[in-house]
């Protein structure tokens, strides 16, 4: 018998599992909206995971580690931006390399730091861990169902939702955001309309990287309970790339999408063991592939993919 409590538990777990995806997805949407397919999400998240964890280890302050994660993500996205915008290098190749580099760098420094500690575990302080706990607002969190449903997550989840809403507002309601979207559709036309293509590409990609970085910090700090573990991002960056398609390149949809994908990730713990676990792990990718396929079959009308995604813009080629 499925009780209300069981369903509540499942939803809360799904939202928590979807949180890192939300950051990765929103960050990648910003980048793809200017036409740059950044396959380095996994790497940027890993670097954010490292810098966030390191700052948390040093400062015992959650806000500081989030900012450090943001900065780490920004710097790694800057590498990508300089090489693809400035040096017009192939986006796929640079993105993949950023993933290999970022994951490798985080693991390398992680192993080094673990070796430095006396106990052979690189661990956050109890003080910081208490700051990362799910919030508890006295009256609100105690309201029966709703309190648990809305006011029982950790600070990252709320940050992620706020960032997603801001990005949605930026992309669809501000002039700068709409200009940005024009760049992703047709950079030459945007350039002709006196939009500063290079500048806005840099801004979007670097900000997107920063947002991915915070998602990485969630992976390193929350998922493993404050203990550093190699490969802590563990493929979530790739799921985020998939989720961008599922969310049809809209940050607001990404909120719902990430919680659905989060639900898919935790579903295996709530389902009878008759269905193989591999199937649940595969589901996000199958669904994304199906969405991609259906969108392309329906033609340009149904697809939200930026027209110029994956191609660099060289002004003198016009």
């Amino acid at each position: 018998m499925i009780s209300l409590d069981f369903i509540l538990k499942f939803i809360v777990a799904a939202v928590a599992a979807g949180t890192p995806l939300l950051f990765g997805t929103v960050g990648e949407i910003l980048s793809e909206k200017v036409g740059h397919l950044n396959l380095g999400v996994e790497g940027m998240m890993s670097i954010g995971a490292l810098t966030g964890f390191m700052a948390g280890y040093g400062s015992h302050n959650l806000a500081v580690s989030m900012i450090a994660a943001f900065a780490g993500g920004m710097v790694s996205a800057l590498i990508y931006a300089v090489l693809t915008i400035g040096f017009m290098a192939n986006q796929n190749v640079i993105g993949l390399t950023l993933t290999i580099f970022g994951v490798g760098f985080a693991n390398f420094v992680g192993v080094y730091m673990v070796g430095k500690t006396s106990s052979n575990t690189w661990q956050l302080s109890a003080d910081l861990i208490s700051q990362m706990k799910s919030i508890h607002i006295p009256l609100l969190s105690d309201i029966p169902v709703i309190g648990k449903l809305i006011f029982s997550y950790d600070p990252f989840t709320y940050t992620g939702i706020i960032i997603a809403l801001i990005c949605g507002w930026y992309l669809f309601k501000t002039k700068a955001g709409l200009n940005t979207q024009a760049i992703g559709e047709n950079p030459a036309a945007a350039d002709a309309a006196s939009i500063q293509v290079t500048k806005w590409k840099f801004i979007n990609i670097v900000l997107g990287g920063g947002i991915c970085g915070i998602g990485g910090a969630y992976c390193s700090m929350i998922i493993n309970g404050g203990v550093w573990i190699s490969d802590c991002v563990g493929g979530l960056g790739w799921i985020s790339v998939a989720l961008v398609i599922f969310a049809a390149w809209r940050p607001q949809t990404a909120i719902l999408g990430s919680f659905i994908f989060g639900a898919l990730r935790v579903l295996k713990y709530y389902m009878p063991s008759v269905i193989p676990i591999a199937f649940f792990n595969m589901l996000p990718f199958i669904i994304t592939a199906a969405v991609l396929l259906i969108a392309s079959i329906r033609g340009t009308k149904g697809s939200h993919i930026p027209e110029n995604l994956g191609f660099n813009y060289f002004r003198e080629d016009r």
């Binding site: 490798g104 080094y112 995604l309």
Partner: protein, 375 residues
């Protein structure tokens, strides 16, 4: 980057083609700079970079066994890179080498597990073909979808990688689980009959690798089909105008591209690992893309770059044992090297002109040469 008054501070223009020596020297410079930057990083955490680099290189050649281990790293990387080379040559962004490799391994493993009563030689040939077909099918799917509906191949091949990976997980936990395995689920070790034979101490995958290097080289530069690939890569419209059936070329080439990656998977499963595990690809499909790109999609250069990368891989495991540093060092160095080469690559083809600078030699600027695949 733009200055006030609409005139950009910096401007990028194409310049005349550099000579082979010049561009080679530039790339060499990039590698040196990358190693210096990597060295600064190593020094910053308190190790002597020269010592670390030396240990890496010496570690790969110190004994016959060490050298054999280096070659073992080289085989899958090189073959996977050859696979994506074919696809990239026609600007089909096949990011799915990883999945194609896995599916090749899955198909080959079926015969290794369930037909190991067959005579050895036919069995190996069947496994080889199964690996090729398995990878080929996984490459064919995105090609068909793109040609029929215009599905974005980068994203679609990416999804297929993970679907392939979880197919292995499913087989491991379900139908192919070794009932005798204690603890974690795994697939049984292949019997000696279904493992690749050793030649000179290494499974004969290295011979397949060399044959494939030669094959891809000849295929791309000497055959009609190879020529069609490069025309399609240059411009689909030109190809169509010249009477090439673009759709057929893309589908055929992707089958071949996936198939070659599948052969790498078969070699990994039946040669190196003697079993099928979820780590059969272990990122090789992705590294292969980097290698192919660094080698400028030239099969011979691919072998050289793959060998250099395998020195980094093997060297990293040596410095792990002697310095306690992580094997992830290889990934970091590979990344840095590629970043610098990509930056330098820009200067091979373009130059930066500052605002106000008078251009005297404008007439000399030639259009971009055709192999430069910048986009």
């Amino acid at each position: 980057m733009e200055a006030k008054k609409r005139e950009p501070l910096l401007r990028v223009v194409k310049h005349a083609e550099l000579s082979r020596t010049q561009s080679f020297l530039l790339r060499l410079l990039a590698v040196v700079v990358a190693l210096v930057v990597g060295g600064i990083f190593i020094a910053s955490i308190g190790y002597n970079p020269l010592e670390v680099y030396k240990t890496m290189v010496v570690g790969c050649f110190r004994s016959v066994m060490a050298f054999q281990a280096t070659i073992k790293f080289c085989i899958p990387m090189c073959i996977a890179a050859l696979g994506v080379t074919l696809a990239f040559k026609m600007k089909f962004w096949n990011i799915g080498g990883e999945g194609q490799l896995i599916m090749g391994a899955v198909f080959a493993s079926y015969f290794a597990l369930f037909c190991d009563g067959m005579p050895h030689v036919p069995l190996i040939i069947i496994m080889f073909l199964a690996g090729f077909v398995g990878g080929g099918i996984w490459g064919l799917i995105p090609a068909l979808c793109r040609e029929k509906w215009g599905t974005n191949e980068t994203l679609f091949t990416l999804m297929l990688n993970y679907i392939a990976l979880y197919i292995v997980t499913y087989l491991r936990d379900g139908p192919w689980r070794d009932p005798q395995a204690a603890g974690f689920n795994k697939i049984a070790r292949f019997s000696a009959n279904s493992q690749l034979d050793k030649v000179a101490g290494i499974h004969f995958g290295w011979i397949i690798m060399i044959v494939l290097v030669v094959f891809v080289f000849i295929y791309l530069s000497k055959t009609k089909q190879g020529y069609e690939i490069s025309v399609v890569g240059e411009s689909r419209d030109t190809a169509r105008y010249a009477g090439i059936n673009v759709r057929r070329v893309v589908i055929r080439t992707m089958f071949l591209s996936g198939g070659i990656a599948g052969i790498a998977g078969m070699i990994q499963a039946c040669g190196a690992d003697a079993t099928l595990s979820t780590g059969v690809a272990n990122g090789v499909g992705f590294t292969g893309i980097i290698i192919a790109w660094l080698a400028q999609l030239n099969p011979i250069a691919t072998l050289v770059v793959a060998f250099a990368f395998s020195i980094l891989e093997k060297g990293s495991s040596v410095i792990q044992s002697s310095f306690g540093l992580s094997t992830a060092c290889a990934d970091v160095l590979q990344g840095i090297i590629l970043f610098f080469i990509m930056a330098i690559e820009f200067f091979v083809r373009y130059k930066i002109v500052f605002a106000g600078h008078k251009e005297k030699k404008l007439s000399q600027a030639k259009p971009e040469k055709k192999e430069a695949a910048g986009k």
